[in-house]
């Protein structure tokens, strides 16, 4: 028989879970302090809902399931869309300032990475208000969380979904041309943007603007100055003002050092309408977080709802932390280990029960060898000759269990 090897070797041992759990706990605590409440969405979603919303998730990437009525379902490919739907459809919730967060697995498949079908996202959505204050608070929260995770060097890249869209409005490019242009801008491919634009019939000043977008990158103040030169109409002026307002507030939040502006940032999720951003850390080549403002998504469910949100890729965060070596790989660790002789069995078992009852983690065994590999704060021995407890290599004797408890309690303050 062929051995069954998991094709997707996601870290599944207890130690990895502990690290994952700690990371998630840090994220949850931080989201909580900004007034966000945790929610979950169902694992099975309607395929129709996703396929009706244009420009979101590639239909081929969704994992489909057919139920017994023949209805097509998909495994939750994202969380933002169902949360927006719930908020838009539920009349009972006043959509004014709903702050929600989630930690959920999302499922997608791609031909390039056939063995990567699930990933954990931890994200927030803030519904009900469109203001530079909310935008910058959300970005502030993202940097705050990255700081909590002890990343030495991280950067949030901020762009605006409207900028490129406004410029496109001024041209009459077809979808195919837009697609090529978009990928050239996304890869900042200056060598080819110029000849490509020349091959299209676009007015000179618009061409100039599109050409300069990719290199509007870096220090926000500089980018804002550069961008002033390519403003062609009122709506672009509004967008620029939005970027200026957000930066002003970010400076007062003291996070401007961690922020870059990138006007060449285009998110493939078409539903973004305002500020968009992504976060990078030193040790991993992909963004660990992505997000932005998506005021128009609610319209798809019949109720316009201003909204902004972002999500961390928890697996990337863990990978990056492992690379930085900031997750400590301890061996099995417990509070108390107890070894005992057969004659003292009752006493030892009762002591273990008492300790566990008060919340200590206890491993107990008669054979010393089995517990040798386990690190513990307290090593207790119930032997025929004497009872002893070992704390940081210092041995202490005790007569009965009550004495043991008081020693442990005293040490443990």
């Amino acid at each position: 028989m062929q051995r069954y090897v998991m094709d997707n070797n996601k870290n599944t041992n207890a130690q990895d879970f502990l690290v994952r759990d700690q990371v998630i706990q840090v994220l949850k605590n931080r989201f909580h302090t900004y007034g966000y409440k945790q929610v979950r969405t169902q694992a099975f979603e309607s395929y129709d809902m996703y396929s009706n919303i244009i420009g979101t998730i590639n239909k081929d990437e969704m994992i489909k399931v057919i139920d017994s009525y023949g209805k097509v379902l998909v495994l939750r490919p994202d969380v933002t869309i169902p949360l927006t739907r719930t908020t838009a459809l539920n009349k009972a919730i006043s959509s004014k300032n709903q702050r929600l967060f989630y930690v959920l697995d999302v499922f997608r498949q791609s031909t390039e990475q056939i063995d990567q079908k699930e990933s954990t996202q931890a994200g927030i959505e803030c519904f009900g208000e469109n203001s530079p204050e909310i935008d910058s608070e959300v970005i502030m929260m993202a940097t705050h969380t990255l700081k909590d995770l002890d990343f030495n060097n991280f950067k949030i890249e901020i762009g605006h979904a409207g900028f490129f869209k406004e410029l496109l409005e001024l041209t009459n490019l077809n979808n195919h041309e837009i697609e090529i242009l978009q990928s050239l801008i996304q890869s900042k491919n200056l060598a080819e943007i110029e000849p490509f634009l020349s091959s299209l019939s676009i007015e000179e000043n618009i061409k100039k603007a599109i050409e300069t977008i990719p290199m509007m990158y870096g220090n926000p103040r500089q980018v804002i100055e550069q961008a002033k030169s390519i403003i062609l109409n009122d709506s672009m002026q509004k967008i620029l003002q939005n970027l200026i307002d957000v930066y002003d507030i970010l400076q007062d939040c003291n996070v401007d050092h961690a922020v870059l502006y990138n006007l060449g940032l285009i998110n493939n999720m078409n539903y973004y309408s305002g500020i968009i951003f992504q976060g990078f850390v030193d040790t991993i080549g992909k963004p660990v977080l992505m997000g932005g403002r998506y005021d128009r998504l609610g319209e798809q469910f019949g109720k316009p709802t201003p909204a902004i949100g972002f999500a961390f890729e928890v697996d990337y965060l863990i990978h990056a932390l492992n690379q930085e070596g900031s997750t400590d790989k301890q061996d099995t660790f417990v509070d108390v280990t107890i070894i005992y002789d057969k004659e003292k069995q009752k006493e030892a078992l009762l002591a273990a029960y008492e300790l566990r009852d008060t919340g200590y983690q206890v491993l107990i065994d008669r054979a010393e060898e089995k517990l040798n590999t386990v690190t513990s704060t307290f090593r207790v021995q119930f032997s025929n000759v004497q009872h002893s407890i070992l704390i940081q290599n210092k041995k202490q004797e005790f007569k009965h269990s009550a004495e043991l408890f008081s020693i442990i309690r005293k040490e443990d303050v």
């Binding site: 890249e157 890869s187 900042k188 060598a191 030193d282 991993i284 992909k286 963004p287």
Partner: protein, 208 residues
Amino acid sequence: MEHITLALAKGRPANSTIKLLETTGEYFTDLHEDTRKLVFYNANKTIKLIFVKALDVPTYVEKGAADIGIVGRDNILESQADVYELLDLKIGQCKFAVAGKPDHNFSDTQKLTIATKYPNVAKKHFKKKGQPIETVKLNGSVELAPIIGLADYIVDIVETGSTLKENGLIVIEDMDLISTRLIVNKASFATKSEEVGQFINQLKSVME
């Protein structure tokens, strides 16, 4: 200052790149023609140079194992890596082309078999034309395929066309132009902006 990792593909583009770097004053210790070492540092250890296979350069850069890569555009297109393509070094210039036997005449409806080292590039090109194809991935001597009858056409890089000519093939259709490009990991561009920017400016200054 943090060091940056630069991935190069062994071969002609690497030699020209290293020459360019030397004109900027960056010399790499122990680096000579027949060394088998794969990792080198410049004098003040601000640049770590690694040698990898050409097609792997975009992968190294996309994953962030290298901050910067210098490689032919053919490999970037084939790998479909999500990276910044910031600079055209204007060396190693050639083009992608569809080539085949001169006497071959295929009706448009027939499904074509294309032999190539670049299946992704070939698929993309024919998809755009609405022509269904089947690709045969080969790793070398691609010119042989139409002669032997393994494929109808090939998609390959063409520099002078002499290899094609000697094997009795002609260029049927020109595709994208190719030259050596500098690519940058998107995260490195954000977190090491200064170092990456400085390196690119250094290169630019000696190119003109």
